[in-house]
Amino acid sequence: MADRAFVDRYARDELNRFDTDFLVEMGQAFRHVGELPHTAFLTRWAQRQHVGGGSAYVILIPTLRCDLKCSYCQVSRAPVAAKGFDWDDETLAQVLTFLDALPVDEIQIEFQGGEPLLRLDHLKTVTEFARRRFQRVRFVVCTNLQTLDADILAFLANEDVLISTSLDGPHQLHTRNRTGTAELTQAFHRNLAQALDLIGPSRVSALPTIDMECPPKPEDLIAAYEDFGFTSLYLRPVNYQGFARKSHPSARTSQSWTAYYRNFVYTLISHNARTGRTMEEFYLAHCLRRILAPGADSHTDLRNPNIPTGTNAVIDFDGQIYPSDEARMLARIRQVDLSVGDVANGLDHEKLALIAPSHINNFDPDCIHCPYQPFCGTDPIDDLSRNGRIDIPRHESWFCQRHLAVFDLAVELLYSEDPAVDFSLCHWLGLETLPDALRPAIS
């Protein structure tokens, strides 16, 4: 980190000897091609561009039907009794053919919906196939956990199956956003407790979707998660997609979100320091990890480059293939068809090539001036959704505003030296102490 005086010297090309020494020492400058700081920079740059290969991450939508009707539903789900919103036998067979042809031995398959557990039969077919086909497999079932029966529990008991669910916080708020009735919320709480009891907290995750028109108090949200024994939560703003764009116009801008998010994180940090517990906000912790090192690419939405291919695809209920879950939502509301093929005819490589360049931030005329560029990513689909185009100035886009705020906050925390902050950061990063070398500064 540098102060204003350094930035001025840098901008005027008037760096002094101490400045240059500092930059060379920090690996930000070099004196000769081929010397160690130069080779090191090449390596670190290449490590940043390399997003691990050899593993696929595929989202499957066996049905679009759902037994809930959440106000912010981003996919415009279909009613539970509706016809024509599930994979038929032919589509199922084609999905398996598509998976079989992926050039990888390792895969994570996420079942989304709708409510995927409405088609447990399809889930069983896919998991049984994938376990035979791939050397390493992991399944994530994104479920509302409204219904658990013996068959579902038996399926969830498999070691390679994880659960991701939604817990919006206090009872009333969860009811308001998701279930509509206290009885249904109680049923969800019972089922969540049962799932945690059955397969343990390491294989169950939950996230709250935050509606800025009625956000939970941070303390209440933290308490709701601690009640179930969670040590991580991921604050997700209402997605400006699907139903949400009609009923939640405030989701289009970021100001209120950023203020809420900052306040939440600071509340969490004080809470941790006071109680000695170590709850993390996943996204902030993840962004911190991305600042400190290359290779923190586990979260598929924040990678750079993030070029769409068949190995990170979404397959919809009708067999259409999309580059991301958000792209499928845009198609669903008929804003723009971003499908990149279908399971009957395979991938549309022309279309993949067309959308590829917008999925890298290295050459964006705004991003190249941003200190957070190496850690950040892009989301042209979200840009399209909100702005109808992908070339608006970055700082006007929701993605950029949200991430500038997250990275500003992450750096602020990293440099704070407040013991309460360091306590949480150490736990989030898996460290015993936070070495000062992680926060170099020049003035």
Binding site: G27, G34, L36, A40, R44, L431, E432, P435, A437
Partner: protein, 359 residues
């Protein structure tokens, strides 16, 4: 201690030769088959010559590759089939005189590459063989030729080469790239402060040369294991060294922080150099934390588990080669023993770690 040299008898008129102790009735060019056996005595027949070995059983050495030295009446166990710790001593010459050196240099050099080539061809499938010294790259041309020859005949083998990193040149790049998948380079770096590093290796200018050559290894995409013996001389600089490594050596596959071995110069300089990390792990812990935050691999070699705070034990490796490893009497009831590196054969309790606590 597992013996690496066996008493042997054979005709003194024979030239030295390399054979593998055959599982059955081996009849290959370099196979030795058991012809006679009585307690403490084994007779073998082989094409290069018949010989006798004492003090081991046939089962102990089956599959082993031996260098029979008729002059000295010794059989060197070049490769022990049952062990992952096999090292060829390329030379005892060295251009550095490191304070803690466990194998102090000698001036005389005996070229053994022909024997090593035969031995490598007889090695178990997919074995990794250590190449050590002295400084192996003082005989770079012969060493590179040896590796070329092995690679041509046994592409399944790989080498772990310990070198002080002083002898690479830009013209080595194509060769380094060609063999990158089969070579792991273990290179010592003691400090990011040139004067401190140079003083420890007792060679002025060593750090500057090392820095340029590590850059070459990076450009070659070579597999690099950085090695730092922790001593009184560099212990307080480990965190700064960690920062240097994460910024300037991001291509290093791992960083091994090592405890001293009390032999050679290491014994001579023990009291001057030994840093008792069982009493103060603060700087080591901070260095490990920095590497964790930067997601770069770090390993502790030769640290008994009980001397490492719990939070860092996952980094401790069972690094001491089987033939020179031991446990203390105190270790007998310890529940972590089977995962612990233990101690070097020549470790002494009276001037060693003060904080040994069986768990």
């Amino acid at each position: 201690m597992i013996p690496l040299r066996l008493r042997s008898e054979c005709s003194r008129s024979l030239a030295p030769f390399v054979v593998r102790i055959s599982y059955g009735a081996g009849n290959g060019e370099n196979e030795a088959s058991l012809s006679h056996e009585e307690p403490g005595l084994l007779d073998y027949q082989a094409k290069p010559g018949d010989f006798r070995v004492r003090g081991v059983t046939h089962e102990d050495i089956t599959g082993d590759v031996l260098l029979i030295d008729p002059q000295r009446q010794i059989a060197h166990r070049l490769i022990r089939a049952a062990s992952p710790h096999n090292t060829f001593l390329i030379t005892e010459q060295c251009d550095q005189l490191c304070l803690m050196c466990s194998q102090p240099p000698k001036t005389h050099h005996e070229d053994m590459f022909a024997h090593f080539l035969t031995a490598a061809q007889l090695a178990p499938s997919a074995a990794q063989i250590g190449l050590s010294g002295g400084e192996p790259l003082l005989h770079k041309e012969a060493l590179f030729g040896f590796i070329d020859a092995v690679a041509a005949k046994r592409s399944d083998l790989s080498f772990h080469i310990l070198t002080n990193g002083q002898h690479f040149e830009i013209s080595d790049l194509p060769w380094l790239r060609k063999h990158r998948s089969r070579l792991l380079w273990g290179v010592p770096i003691y400090s990011n402060v040139p004067a401190v590093h140079d003083e420890i290796v007792r060679k002025p200018g060593a750090f500057a040369q090392l820095s340029d050559n590590l850059s070459l290894l990076g450009l070659a995409g070579a597999a690099l294991e950085l090695r730092t013996v922790v001593m009184k001389q560099n212990a307080t600089g480990l965190l700064r060294l960690a920062d240097f490594i994460s910024r300037h050596l991001p291509f290093a596959a791992t960083w091994a922080i090592m405890q001293m071995e009390r032999i050679g110069y290491g014994r001579m300089n023990w009291s001057r150099c030994f840093f008792d990390s069982s009493e103060d792990f603060t700087e080591l812990g901070a260095a490990i934390d920095l590497m964790r935050a930067r997601r770069q691999s770090v390993t502790l070699y030769n640290f008994p588990l009980c001397t490492v705070p719990t939070a860092f034990r996952e980094h401790a490796a069972q690094s001491i080669s089987d033939w020179k490893q031991k446990y203390l009497k105190d270790c007998e009831p310890c529940s972590m023993r089977s995962r612990c590196a233990g101690f070097f054969e020549w470790y002494r309790e009276e001037d060693g770690f003060m904080g040994i606590h069986p768990q």
